[in-house]
Symmetry: C2
Subunit: 189 residues, 2 copies
Amino acid sequence: MKADITTKVNGVDTERLVETVRAVKATPELGRFTFQVTNRWMDGAENRSETRRFRGQGETLSHKTTLQLMADEPEVLLGRDTAANPVEHLLHALASCVTTSIVYHAAAKGIAIEHIESSLEADLDLQGFLGLDPAVRNGCQQIRLKLRINANVSDEQLQELSKLGPAFSPVFDSIRQGVPISILAERIP
Amino acid sequence: MKADITTKVNGVDTERLVETVRAVKATPELGRFTFQVTNRWMDGAENRSETRRFRGQGETLSHKTTLQLMADEPEVLLGRDTAANPVEHLLHALASCVTTSIVYHAAAKGIAIEHIESSLEADLDLQGFLGLDPAVRNGCQQIRLKLRINANVSDEQLQELSKLGPAFSPVFDSIRQGVPISILAERIP
């Protein structure tokens, strides 16, 4: 059981979780976060993102270190296959957010989880990316998310647990419903 | 100039790019890809994805190695801050896909690019994730994408170049328009 005697359930400090809920309830501005990354093209399909700062709780905050993320394409898509490709990163964002949402919301309910794993698939038709058929979308046509959970709960409670991810995950909602994206382009002086 | 004498423009093999376009045009099934990741929860906000196989060109293909992706949350969000969080991964997926889309489509047009960098921000209101206000969405409210490009083209052509990303990027379209997500949950036996 991933719970210790004091305040952690599923590795989540539930006292701090309750405090966070209370603070955001009292002062909604504290709940506004802005995450950011900067990305630099290397060559071909290779590029690299860094994330260091973000805004939250009314101030600018920093990760403990600068975190680096790489991207590439497999050779069949003309890359050098040195890193996951953008669609795989999208699936990782979704998987990680759904999992963390289940873990945190279960912790808030005092439900200890033993194990969560998931497998995700995204279908894509290159006719969109290549501009060959305007009837084919560029984006993913369908994502399939399969969750496997182990916890000492009834089958019904297990289904409830699995729904906490889709019900609360920010990335699930972002990908499911879409997000407005504003674009600005300028020349490097 | 990231172009060599033979067939590479922006590090992309343009002969193979033309061949790929021709093949998908002749046999649209060859353009259908399915990307996949598996994810496993570690503890708290920490989880890990792996990607090894994908389907494309009518067969099951493999990356050269199993690629690992990590996720965590910063301490202020009750994590241990060992890796980028899910929203930052979402922004990396978007940045990397928009950049690669510009690079490939510019290569197809024979336009050599010197440099691309981008900065991305996503606004999120924790009132959604915490279930405090049903009027606040769980997902990102807005994403801002700032592109900075250097290429030996006119200002007008530079704006055209920057539009190739949003026009063709699968991840841009996925996040902008949303993707249907099917969910299956089961107990680990």
